[in-house]
Amino acid sequence: MTKTDTTDAGPPPGAPAPRGRTRSGLGRALLGAAGIAAFLTLWEAVPRLGLVSDRYLPPATEVLGVLAQRATTPGFWAAVGDTLHGWALGLAIAFAAAVVLGFTLGALPRVRAFTTSTVDFLRPIPSVALIPLAVLLYGTDIRSTLLLVVYACFWLIYIQVLYGVADVDPVAEQTARSYGLGRLARIRYVVWPTTLPYLMTGLRLAAAVALILSITAQLIIGTPGIGQEIAIAQSSNAVAYVYALIVATGILGVLINMGVRVLERRVLRWHTSVRGEATA
């Protein structure tokens, strides 16, 4: 594997590795850059040509200028910090709870069957529907953000863990048993490696959803962070700053996604989907 593969987004695990990656990787990077340039040009042109009033959609240069200027103020970074804090903490809590419960219930088929109906009822409830409850419980505290983030992310990861645990190869399991591996050893050497790719998929999905919900909570409830800044800018008619903040959340989302993918590749470097060998 070349170094470029760990830094760019790359194909999802499971996709066959294309040939001549370095060359096409570079070409893709160039195409990507050209795409962004074209998008920014379009954004710049639409208000400049008067297709949309620049009072409601300031040109790209103005928005990016505002973003660059705001990026020098501590208030901006405090908002970014608050957002990342809610994101990371919520994701961590959901991850820990989902892993513990997923492995436990995965190992206890009867308990799992007993809880399935409840899980299937709770899981489709959109996290945003819990906003009134969050407001009632925690007001504009960060715990409101955490409630929404943890709720949404927990199910994503939990379900993946259950699938993973259920995917354990019975032959491998039997083999481990006949070699005399205990319950914990079997979890460590059989269940965990099988579940890990599922777990990473859950984490990747949850990382994106956690950012969405953390911004949503800030925007609607008013917990501190970028979302709250957007709401304040909006109620102040600071249109360019609103767009600047939206761009900032986009950048944050891209960085988070890249980070999780790098993590995924490291953790699953032994796995066929990442090693790039065709699965038999």
Binding site: L133, L136, T140, I221, Q228, A231, Y241
Partner: protein, 321 residues
């Protein structure tokens, strides 16, 4: 089934809040002389709450032994629940919402006035605006038009309907649509709506784009209309009446300070909003009398009854302290 589960969850959660609400939030009741009592206010980051920001900045709350933290809640959605659950010690809300909440059985009580109409027709901090060149020239012309307001069945449509009645029109066939204030200037300009009911800073934004205020619905209701108020819950009030006396005094002093120093108000706006300086310089400030004008609130409550926002005569004696 899902609803029942949710209700169950909500019920348990409510119990949990009431259970922890008692202990943790209790401030150290003014023991030593210098010890400040920490209070949290839920406010909306708009022009109307400038006096509390000024009060904090000028140390007025500290002089009364209070360390006031201001938590902003963008739409104000979190404020009333926050005050009821004890998360906030006080909040800021328009009086129509308070009267409705009170009728629904929420134990709210006002502390002081919040913001009052300027009383000047055509130059109030909130009013009905039309785009440049519109043929709607007065409230009576609003008959049969589409008017945007921020929240249906609240202070906006109630007072606008009254303005139309006062001008001799029939408000029955006005089509009110709900639109957030920030979206109003664009909606007006693109002709999506015929008129909007907007407050500052969006009134100024609309005026700067060539629009104009055709009627001042607060003034039509009462030139001294108390539009919004600071409030708390009866429970908090009963827990520590002395503390709330100091708080009320500090709020009143802050309001008076703001009323006397409009330049300071404009200046403090730039600390908690992102309003452009050119708008800050031009926007119409509300008046900030310390006391609620009881008669004006009564006039508003009568309109609410007439429009069916409340089913029975509002009990202002319990709401206004």
């Amino acid at each position: 089934m899902r609803h029942r589960l949710l209700a169950l969850a909500a019920g348990t959660a409510l119990l949990a809040t009431t259970a922890c609400g008692g202990g943790s939030q209790d401030p150290p009741s003014s023991e030593g002389g210098d010890e400040l009592t920490q209070l949290t206010a839920g406010v909306i980051p708009i022009v109307d709450v400038a006096p509390v920001y000024l009060g904090v900045q000028e140390g007025i709350f500290e002089e009364h032994g209070i360390d006031l933290a201001l938590e902003t809640s963008a739409g104000g959605a979190a404020i009333v629940p926050g005050v009821v659950s004890g998360e906030f010690d006080l909040g800021f809300s328009n009086v129509v919402s308070l009267i409705v909440a009170r009728e629904q059985g929420l134990p709210l009580a006002t502390l002081t006035n919040g913001a009052t109409s300027t009383g000047e027709q055509g130059a109030d901090f909130g009013g009905v605006f039309v785009a440049e060149g519109s043929d709607i020239e007065s409230a009576a012309d609003l008959e049969g038009t589409t008017v945007a307001i921020n929240t249906l069945s609240n202070i906006g449509d109630t007072t606008v309907r009254n303005s139309v009645r006062v001008a001799g029109g029939d408000p029955a066939d006005i089509d009110f649509i709900e639109l957030p204030f920030p979206d109003m200037p664009a909606a007006l300009e693109t002709g999506q709506v015929d008129a909007v009911w907007a407050v500052e800073p969006f009134g100024t934004v609309i005026r700067q784009a060539g629009g104009q205020q055709i009627t001042s619905n607060f003034v039509d209701t009462d030139p001294d209309l108390s539009v919004a108020a600071y409030f708390t819950s009866e429970q908090r009030l009963a827990e520590d009446p002395e503390l709330f006396d100091s708080l009320t005094a500090a709020l009143q002093e802050s309001l008076t300070y703001a009323e006397d120093n409009p330049d300071a108000v404009r200046e403090v706006l730039t600390t908690y909003t992102e309003i452009d300086q050119s708008v800050v310089d031009e926007l119409v400030l509300p008046r900030f009398p310390a006391e609620i004008d009881r008669d004006s609130v009564q006039a508003l409550a009568d309109l609410m009854l007439e429009d069916g926002l409340i089913d029975a005569e509002a009990d202002l004696d319990t709401l206004i302290r």
